[in-house]
Structure formats: C-alpha cells, structure tokens
Symmetry: C2
Subunit: 196 residues, 2 copies
C-alpha cells in the first residue's frame, strides 16, 4: 500500500534494527483516514472470501479491525489480554509469549462469538515474531471456525512470523513489508515507487 509505505518513511522512527515506532499515526496517536484506507485495503484483498467476522487483539489492532469490519459489513471481535491464566468454560484461550516484554500472557475470546459456521479474517498492526497471531489461530482452530487469512498492517519480514504461519498454511496479506531497517533507512520488499 503506497500511501502507508510513504507515511512510514516520513513519520516512522526506527529505534534499532528491529524496533519501528509508528505511534504518531498508527498506534497511540492515530490517523483515522489512513486507518480507514487500511481497512478498505484488507477488505479488497480478501474480497469474495465470504468473511463473517474480523478478529484482532486489544489494544493496537482494534481500530484496524473496526475499519476492516465496517467496510466488509460484518462484526469484529477483539481478544482480551490477561496476565493471569484463568481457565474458564466460557472462553477459548491461548498463551502468548511476548519477546519484547519477556512475559507470557493469555488471550481469550468468549465461546459464544465464534462458531463452526464462521469464516474469520484476523487483522493486526504488526506481524513480527507471529506469537500473538499464532495464539489467535489456535483459538480459531479450537472453535471449529474457518481461518480465511491474516491481514497485517506492517510486516517485519526479517523476523520469523510469516514463515511460522505460512508453514501452517495460513494466507498472509501485509500492506507494508519491511525487508530491513536502520536509523538511516527502511527497505521495503516492494518499494513504494513500484506500487499503485
């Protein structure tokens, strides 16, 4: 997505070879027009997939799920994050290890909102290690619903997330795929100049 890549180049801040800060326009402070365009781009890429629900994780995926689900005309669900593992008959849950924070938390979705009839599109802000997204795919599998694919706003292609998920047969659509980055330069797999 050309406009997104150009915005990342203009307003993104590379803090290290693996940390990209986008909190002036995608998380913390958010550009709602760009967010809506992101939702429209996901809807277009998964056109014809008869998606029934969009799934994301709180908090930084919520506005992208909102924009995507609004465009598709279906509900969205945001999985809750909890520190403590509380087993319950009422939720599907999966553990997620955060490499950034060096801690394991639990994500959960109420059982009543996922069923075997559902065709689910997952969306999230980043695809990096893939830990959180793998957790979401486990929840979908447990519910019996069909996973249509994953839409990631930004992919750090130099981390293992895409490989892990593709091995499991998951279709991935990322709107900006970063091949490598440094404080001086961000290299995209498809340069903005090549995009429409």
């Amino acid at each position: 997505m050309k406009e997104l890549q150009e915005r990342i180049m203009r307003d993104g801040k590379v803090l290290s070879a693996s940390v990209l800060k986008v909190d002036s326009f995608l998380n913390h402070q958010v550009d709602p027009r760009l967010t809506m365009q992101i939702g429209q781009a996901f809807a277009k890429r998964f056109e014809g997939e008869r998606i029934t629900k969009v799934l994301t994780i709180e908090a930084s995926g919520i506005h992208f799920a909102m924009a995507t689900a609004y465009t598709l005309g279906v509900p969205f669900i945001y999985a809750k994050k909890k520190k403590a593992i509380t087993l319950s008959e009422e939720v599907y849950a999966a553990p997620v290890h955060s490499f950034t924070r060096q801690e394991t938390y639990q994500i959960s979705v109420a059982r009543q909102y996922l069923s075997a009839e559902d065709r689910i599109l997952i969306v999230d802000d980043f695809l990096a290690t893939g830990a959180a997204l793998v957790g979401l795919t486990q929840i979908i599998k447990e519910s019996g619903a069909q996973l249509v694919g994953i839409g990631a706003v930004i992919e750090k292609s130099f981390q293992e997330g895409r490989g892990l998920l593709e091995q499991a047969g998951v279709r991935i659509e990322s709107l900006a795929r970063i091949q490598s980055m440094s404080t001086e330069h961000i290299e995209f797999i498809e340069p903005a100049s090549s995009l429409v």
Copy 2:
C-alpha cells in the same frame, strides 16, 4: 440515541443493579455500523467546537474514538494503561482507581501529542464512577490544551461520574443515560420512544 437504547434493551445483559454487559455489540464483539453511528452522533453534538483531537483510553474506547475522529476529520489518541507507575519526562500521566478491579493503574499520553493549541473531545464507552475520565481531564489540564467536553456511549446516571465532572465545569453528552436497572428492566432518563 434511539437505535443505541433499543439495542441495549435487546442485547444488553444486566448482571446486577450496577453491572451492564454489552459485550455482544459494543465491547469484545462489536457492531461497526452502530459504532460509526455513535461516532457521527458525538461529532454532531459537538459540532462547531473546532475540535482538533479526540482522546480516549485503551482498549474499549478505541473504536468509538476511531469513528468520532474519522467523522470529524481529526486524529485521535488513546491513552495507555499501565499497572506500574513509571514516571517519565516524556508523558503526561494520572493515576486511576478501578473500583471494579480494586486496583490503581496509571494512564499516560506522550507529551508531543497534546499542546496548548489543542481543543480536545474525550470519548469513552461508559461514564460510571468517572474515575478514568477524571484522569483524562487531569492529563488535558496539565498539557494546557482545552477540553471541549466528554462523549460517553452509555452513562450509568445513578453513579457519581456525571456529578463529579459537571462540578469541574465539563460538558457531558451521553448517548444512552440509564437511570436504574435490574435483571428485569432498564430505565432510561429519556425513553427510546421519546427520541427521534
């Protein structure tokens, strides 16, 4: 807002005289069309106020901030919640006591995203004790920005939040004001039948 009140009556679940569950259409699982209408309603009520940014708190306020800011054509910010108090030169912060969870957490906004030139509209899902909203008003005050008002999706009018905030001179617009509720019945201050 007529459609919202009717939806609360149809799909809301009153768990006790003070707990209303709306997680099938407003939080956890979300109806994006209703959410967009909520954002449009806030934008209309604060029309002419020259709002420059919308402010909310993660996670359950984010989609309402998205819908409101999208309609107004301005950015939104979601304050971060943290358990530990980490003082920093880079953020405005305020402590918030959660009566539901019996714990105090910190909310924060990066200083660079609020300035004395800003005219801020706060939106959130619930106005009840007002604790989180009072925290947000403290952050705005510290930044020197102007608080235009607060938009709450659902107000539990039998709790102290509105009184606290009105004493501080804050304009409040709630789209559904609940006077009282029980497992059998929800009583609104303005019945849906009286609304356009």
